[in-house]
Structure formats: structure tokens, C-alpha cells
């Protein structure tokens, strides 16, 4: 092996004893937690997915579930009402 590559290897061995770098687990967790979807959003997504698969009953059920989540978690009556209307629409279809 070339002498310089041997020396680089020795240099890398010398660098092994470096102090571990600081890392802030809490900061990482708090920013990751912001990526977690709200349950209501998740249910809406599922409803949309079911609609795409043309399963009217499943979509309707998901919309009802979303409506309840919109009311219970977000306290948003308009969102809850429009979701219920959507659920009825899906059943009607």
C-alpha cells in the first residue's frame, strides 16, 4: 500500500478518540412531533382514499368518523356539518 494511504489510515485512527458531538434528542423529537398528522386530518385522508377507491359506503363511514373528529377535536361545527353532508352524498351515490 502507498505510504500516504497508510498515513491517512493512521490519521483516521488518531481521530477516533474525538469527543462525541452534541445532539439534542428533545429538539429532534419536538420537530418530528410537528410532522405527526392530526387524527382528524388522518381520518379525512382515509375518507378521501376510500372515495378514490369508489367504495361509497366506506367513504361515507369515514366522513362520519371525520365529522365526529372535527366536532370532538376541533370543535368546528361547519366542518362537522359539511362532512356529514358529504357522508350522506356518498350514501346517496
Amino acid at each position: 500500500m502507498d505510504d500516504f494511504l497508510k498515513e491517512v489510515r493512521m490519521l483516521a485512527s488518531a481521530a477516533e478518540g474525538r469527543k462525541p458531538p452534541h445532539f439534542d434528542a428533545q429538539a429532534i423529537l419536538s420537530s418530528v412531533s410537528r410532522l405527526v398528522p392530526e387524527p382528524a386530518q388522518e381520518q379525512y385522508r382515509l375518507g378521501f382514499l376510500a372515495a378514490l377507491t369508489a367504495s361509497a359506503a366506506a367513504a361515507s363511514l369515514a366522513m362520519v368518523s371525520y365529522a365526529s373528529a372535527a366536532w370532538l377535536e376541533l370543535r368546528d361545527p361547519f366542518l362537522a356539518l359539511s362532512s356529514l353532508t358529504n357522508a350522506v352524498d356518498w350514501l346517496w351515490l
Binding site: 490519521l11 488518531a14 452534541h22 434528542a25 410532522l35
Partner: protein, 178 residues
């Protein structure tokens, strides 16, 4: 469990793999603030891609691959051809009085030396000499065949040897390991 939505499971992953990821990210920047940021990016990326994790390889290998990609992207995202060590790393100040054998100083010199190489060679030499991983794992991290990895390793070594023919590098490396 993380995939099933258990909130504590991800915190356990961060606790278990955080230090290893931070160590790996140090290969991509000597600046503690940048290392912090890159470590953070790796976990966010891992979280967003958890559904793609196939259980045919250990989780730490999967994380190491994400870390490699994240670090490499960091290099590529910067205009680093001019005085990278001094300017690209913002507030970072190298050790004022490096002493032979000092691990921190050895790490800085290694970073500076590899930074002279083109990014692809720099990554390969970093994986090989600092992370001490073999050809098979390098191929996996770079998403290429073992043969392609062998060719790339060979070329990167040739370029590193060429640097070693420059007096300034040979002298500094020899002094550090003396």
C-alpha cells in the same frame, strides 16, 4: 411500533441512534451547529420514510444510509470550491494550536484533506477511512454494484495518493501522526 403510531417508540429510536448519527454527520461538517442541523434532518427524513424501511437489514444500516445521503446532499448544496474550510462552515473556528496526536486536530486535518477531493471521492474516502466500512457496505450506501464500488474506491484512492505527493499535505499528515 413507530409505524403503528406509538409516540414513545420514535423517541426510543432517537435515543438509541442519535449519537451514532451525530458522529456520522461530523464527517460532513466540523461545525457543531451544522452537525446538529444535519442530525435533525436525518431523523426527520427517517420519520417521513419509516414506511419504506424493509426489515431485511438492521435498522442502524438503514439510518446510516439516510445519514450518508443527507450529508452528501449538504456538500452538494453549497458552493464549496473556494476556501470551504474557512467560509462554508460559518462560525466554525479550527483549533488554534493543533498538537500531534490530538484526536480533534486529527479529525480536522482529515476533514480538510478529504475536502480537497471531488465530492464523490470525498464521500468514498470518508466512508472508508473514517466510518471504516467495507466495499460491500459502500456499494449499498451508494446504491451501486460491488464492482462499480470497487472501481470508484480505486479512483478515489488514486486521487488521494496524488494529494499525498504534494509536500504541504504529506508534511502536515506526518507531523500529526508523529
Amino acid at each position: 411500533m413507530v409505524l403503528a403510531g406509538e409516540p414513545d417508540a420514535f423517541s426510543r429510536l432517537v435515543e438509541r441512534h442519535g449519537e451514532a448519527v451525530a458522529r456520522q454527520m461530523r464527517n460532513f461538517s466540523p461545525n457543531p451547529a451544522v452537525i446538529d442541523e444535519l442530525t435533525h434532518d436525518v431523523f426527520v427524513e427517517a420519520y417521513l420514510n419509516l414506511a419504506n424501511y424493509r426489515k431485511d437489514a438492521p435498522f442502524r444500516h438503514w439510518m446510516a444510509r439516510i445519514a450518508t445521503i443527507t450529508g452528501y446532499r449538504h456538500w452538494k448544496s453549497r458552493d464549496r470550491r473556494k476556501n470551504q474550510f474557512a467560509f462554508d462552515e460559518g462560525q466554525y473556528r479550527p483549533l488554534e494550536k493543533p498538537t500531534p496526536g490530538n484526536p480533534e486536530a486529527a479529525g480536522e486535518l482529515l476533514f480538510e484533506l478529504f475536502a480537497e477531493l471531488p465530492d464523490s471521492d470525498r464521500l468514498i474516502m470518508t466512508l472508508m477511512y473514517i466510518d471504516k466500512i467495507g466495499q460491500k457496505e459502500i456499494a449499498r450506501r451508494l446504491n451501486c454494484s460491488k464492482t462499480a464500488a470497487a472501481v470508484r474506491i480505486h479512483r478515489a484512492k488514486q486521487r488521494l495518493k496524488k494529494l499525498g505527493r504534494e509536500e504541504r499535505w504529506r508534511r502536515r499528515v506526518q507531523w500529526m501522526i508523529s
